[in-house]
């Protein structure tokens, strides 16, 4: 059995026990308040990090070293794949994505504990207990249900893997799945802080502040994942669009809506002490929905274009969800009275109310998408009929919802807290409203005469109304963002006597949350703008012969030629096209189709002519070389470029928000404690000894089950196997493999193995046997032992990694302990002064405005 499997599965098994023990230690620490257990829990959580890190490293190593004795590696990769896709294959299947989940979760937990164990000490024990509970669930799945380290028979690994679906071998696919998964995984951290607050009864705003960056991280990963998913669908799937309301897309969008709602309502609690229950509810909901999303994609409950492995794994998620949700909600109800708002909504014309309203709209959006996704199943349950609900229904509901959110985005950025005044309206709203009005009067008519009319699009009346509305509010929000940046930069440049541009960039580092937020919202507006372009979409499906010209809107498409270019792994076909506008060639494009021999599957290679007003998209649906015809899908997608720009802006804005702020001054204290270290070592030993036995046994069993799948050859002793591994196999298809590793059914390999056994039986030594082969077949018969050495080296790396990381965690942890200053005890000022603080609403804009007035007065 493969060493990789032993290490990996062993690490999972030990990780499982360490997680369980850490959880118990954390609960004891929470109940008894004993520092020894608390420290044990903290170090235990670091240890899980190292263990699941080793397991993840082992599976990655399996891919990189082409260890096809691992079922998982065999199934999702082949030796010819570039390394980056070998890495992507890690999360290409179910067991691997669970492994990725557990590894990433343990890492997030470790980081959260590292950063918060001092500043949020009272929450820590329960926080660790909850996170360990979640981690335990995934560790159990890996250990008992879906083991990524299942192996083939002892000696005979298949010579090559089955490869990864060619459609998944693209750059976007390397980032899209892990990004979505990380979004899902990191939602555990804010959820656990919320639960820790509920469990410990420390219901002040500490938990909320602790979650701030973690929620942003989760939100950012989900956003990146969603946008890259769209980009992948657009450039790889060849149906001319990027969003189809597919259940798997929806599964990621639903928590995104809830997370967005939470990000906004958390601000209200921070500033005004309101919506405490609502925030806890939202964070619980977001977490449950990520689990639900995983369930939806893995269970195959709803038919989807993402044909994931459908397995019983979904059942475990639903059990987890059904047991977790009531416990969380019961806790929330238990603390209900303690979670009273500190203040009340004073007016409907206030930022609080706009934010709250935006929350309702976002939750309504999440509800609509959830309902639409589940509708086929609901209908089946109620009426015993299957039905499908297509994109038109989703668009019908989501378009007005998106526009409402757009309005609220603009209003929410400007309206003042507590109660908006006429002055507030005059000061903030008039300029952007005028800008938006002017833009609406100019842009749509210009666009109509410039593009819509020439393209011959006759948009639906409702779409026109929506489009006008969208233009108005998109420009409203963009104007607000521009004005805010301009104002802030002007004040800074005057005050500090620096240049305008320096002042502008300075804004980003000075008040990150505010200006990062503006950038994110500008990004969202561009996204909406990109989506709105669908109202004027032109789509043509044309069967063309070479030399023919077809029209697409006001473009003409000339099919110049069809060509086929075979290469080693695929047959490449291209349709060369000239895109003409007003009789002039604008662009030469070559959409095509690749047909992969190994997987017998074609992929569409789309080609897109992109400019700021529109994308012209081409895909070959099918073709026939004999008759020189090709069926082309041709689409004009207005404004699609802005979608990707908006996405980039969102990511950039989030990075600005999360960028670490200036460090606090730290003081050293050299106090050392041995107790926690000894506790951890004790726990670790306790865990390792029994589990290393259990783990190996069941891993070996798992391997044996698959032994039958491969035609087995006689087992030989290690010395013979070593010789097998040195002799090159002659048969076709086993290039570079030894007779010990090549396909068991191949005749030459079988013959040579028999020969080796015979020679050894007749009393020859290892060297003599090898010499015999050299005499017969020349030097080339013996594989260079260098390869073996390399293999050994590579499997040792994860072990070394573990030995390095574990102590590193301790060292880092210890250094952090000695450096950080305990948080200043809360002074009475903060309690009493809350009202004052609210009055001073730390809105830098207002402060800047005051400064501005002062400056103007001086002049």
């Amino acid at each position: 059995m493969s060493e990789v499997a032993i290490i990996g599965y062993g690490a999972i098994a030990v990780g499982f026990v360490v997680t369980a023990i850490t959880m118990i230690a954390a609960v004891i620490a929470a109940v008894s308040k004993r520092a020894r257990y608390r420290d044990a829990a903290i170090y235990g959580s670091y240890l899980t990090c190292a263990l699941f890190g080793v397991a993840s490293a082992a599976i990655i190593h399996g891919f990189m070293s082409h260890d096809f004795s691992l079922l998982y590696v065999h199934r999702y990769s082949d030796a010819a794949m570039p390394w980056i896709y070998q890495l992507a294959a890690f999360w290409g299947g179910q067991a691997g994505s669970l492994m990725f989940w557990a590894g990433a979760l343990s890492l997030f937990i470790g980081a959260a504990v590292l950063f918060h164990h001092k500043s949020n000490a009272p929450l820590m024990p329960w926080f660790i207990a909850v996170t360990m509970g979640v981690l335990l669930f995934f560790a159990a799945l890996l250990l008992f249900v879906s083991n990524p380290f299942e192996t083939y028979a002892l000696i005979q690994a298949p010579p090559d893997g089955q490869g990864l679906n060619p459609q998944l071998q693209t750059f976007t696919m390397v980032i899209h799945p892990p990004s979505l998964l990380l979004g899902y995984v990191s939602a555990t951290i804010p959820f656990s802080f919320g639960m820790a607050a509920l469990l410990s009864g420390r219901l002040d705003d500490d938990w909320l502040k602790a979650t701030r960056k973690w929620t942003l991280i989760s939100w950012a990963f989900l956003s990146i994942g969603l946008i890259l998913g769209m980009l992948w669908a657009y450039t790889e799937l060849g149906w001319g669009g990027y969003w189809a309301w597919d259940p798997v897309e929806n599964a990621a969008l639903i928590p995104w809506f809830v997370m967005t709602a939470y990000l906004h309502s958390a601000v209200i609690q921070e500033k005004r002490g309101m919506l405490k229950r609502w925030n806890l509810f939202l964070i619980i909901l977001a977490f449950i929905l990520t689990i639900f999303g995983t369930f939806l994609t893995r269970s195959g409950l709803i038919a989807s274009v993402h044909s994931f492995a459908q397995s019983e794994i979904g059942d475990y998620f639903i059990v987890f969800m059904v047991t977790t949700a009531p416990v969380c909600l019961a806790l929330l109800i238990y603390r209900w009275d303690e979670l009273k708002s500190e203040s009340r909504m004073e007016s409907l014309l206030s930022r609080e109310f706009v934010f709250l309203f935006n929350n309702w709209v976002l939750l309504f959006a999440a509800g609509i998408v959830l309902f639409g996704t589940m509708f086929p199943k609901l209908k089946e349950m109620v009426f015993n009929e299957t039905a499908s609900l297509g994109p038109p229904w989703f668009n019908k509901w989501m378009t007005p919802v998106a526009l409402t959110m757009l309005v609220l985005t603009g209003v929410g950025m400007l309206i003042s807290w507590r109660r908006a005044s006429v002055r507030n309206f005059q000061k903030n709203f008039i300029a952007p409203l005028i800008a938006a009005g002017v833009a609406t009067l100019l842009v749509p008519p210009a666009y109509y005469f410039y593009r819509i009319k020439p393209m011959g699009v006759v948009p639906d009346r409702l779409d026109v109304a929506y489009a006008l509305f969208a233009v108005f509010f998109c420009s409203f929000v963009l104007a607000i963002v521009a004005i805010e940046f301009y104002r802030g930069a002007r004040v800074r440049s005057r005050k500090l006597g620096i240049g305008f541009l320096t002042a502008l960039t300075g804004l980003l580092t000075r008040n990150q949350r505010r200006y990062g937020g503006y950038i994110i919202h500008a990004g969202i507006v561009l996204l909406v703008f990109g989506f709105a372009g669908n109202a004027f979409r032109v789509e043509e499906n044309v069967m063309m012969r070479v030399g023919e010209v077809a029209s697409l809107g006001d473009y003409e498409v000339h099919l110049v030629k069809l060509r086929e270019e075979p290469d080693v792994e695929k047959l490449k076909m291209f349709a060369d096209i000239e895109l003409l506008h007003d009789g002039e060639v604008v662009s030469e494009l070559s959409p095509g189709r690749f047909f992969f021999y190994a997987s017998q599957s074609p992929t569409s290679e789309v080609d897109i002519h992109s400019n700021p007003t529109e994308d012209v998209f081409f895909a070959v649906v099918n073709y026939d070389m004999e008759s020189n015809t090709a069926a082309l899908l041709m689409v004009i997608n207005p404004f699609t470029m802005w979608l990707w720009i908006g996405g980039l802006l969102m990511v950039f804005g989030t990075m600005v928000c999360m960028w670490p702020q200036a460090q606090q001054v730290t003081v050293k204290s050299r106090k050392r404690k041995l107790a926690p270290a000894t506790t951890v070592v004790g726990l670790f030993t306790l865990a390792v000894v029994p589990l290393s036995l259990v783990g190996f046994e069941s891993a070996a069993q798992a391997g044996d089950e698959h032994a039958v799948a491969i035609e087995s050859i006689d087992l030989v002793d290690p010395a013979t196997q070593e010789i097998f591994d040195l002799i090159k196999c002659e048969c076709e298809g086993c290039a570079g493999l030894s007779i010990g590793r090549c396909n068991p059914t191949c005749g030459e390999g079988r013959r040579d193995r028999a020969l080796v056994v015979d020679l050894l039986a007749s009393g020859r030594t290892r060297e003599q046997v090898l010499q015999e082969f050299v005499n017969k077949r020349g030097e080339g018969a013996i594989l260079t032992p260098k390869i073996e050495g390399f293999n050994h080296l590579t499997w040792i790396i994860p072990v070394i990694g573990a030995f390095v990381t574990v102590p590193l965690f301790f060292v880092v942890a210890r250094r952090r302990r000695s450096q950080t200053v305990p948080p200043e005890p809360k002074t009475a000022k903060e309690g009493n002064g809350k009202a004052e603080e609210e009055d001073a609403v730390d809105d830098e804009g207002e402060r800047l405005d005051d400064l501005e007035r002062a400056l103007e007065a001086m002049e």
């Binding site: 199934r75 999702y76 459609q167 309504f364 309902f371 499908s388 509901w397 069926a631 059914t745």
Partner: protein
């Protein structure tokens, strides 16, 4: 307190109204989807109605009639219909392919399709693609099926 109650009631009514519209519109906009055998057995109920039918292409039944017209037999759970389709054919569309067609049943055993989706074989998929649900009695189908699903070992 009274204004709060009023707001609560109005909110509840609004939410209820929205919910009602969401559900009724979903019921109106949804398209029935069924396997071939169900479409055949329940065709009286769906006469003249647009439906989606899912099944596998019977190997050897594909007849191309010009550039964008094709007819083929679609089968599932022992029932078969003739499908007449006009439009571009996805190139995953071949013998045994798992296909969903949208359109109307024009007679007992024939279906006029306006849209066709062929599922692509995916490495993400644990189930073997192809003719796993073909009727056992079709010898030709069995032969074609084994060819279209080559195994390396």
């Amino acid at each position: 307190m009274e204004t709060r109650n009023i707001i609560f009631v109005v909110g509840l009514l609004l939410a209820g109204g929205l919910l009602f519209f969401v559900i009724t519109s979903a019921v109106d906009d949804s398209v029935y989807m069924m396997t071939v055998d169900k479409a055949v057995s329940e065709q009286a109920e769906h006469a003249g109605q647009e439906i989606k039918v899912q099944g596998n292409v019977v190997p050897g039944s594909i007849i191309v009639k010009g550039d964008d017209k094709v007819s083929f037999e679609l089968t599932k759970n022992g029932e078969t219909v003739d499908v007449f389709y006009t439009g571009p054919r996805p190139d995953t569309f071949k013998d045994c392919a798992d296909v969903i067609v949208t359109g109307k049943l024009s007679s007992e055993r024939s279906f006029d399709a306006v849209d066709m989706i062929a599922k692509c074989p995916s490495k993400y998929d644990d189930l073997p693609g192809g003719c796993d649900s073909r009727p056992v009695d079709e010898g030709t189908a069995a032969n074609a099926g084994s060819e279209s699903n080559p195994k390396k070992y």
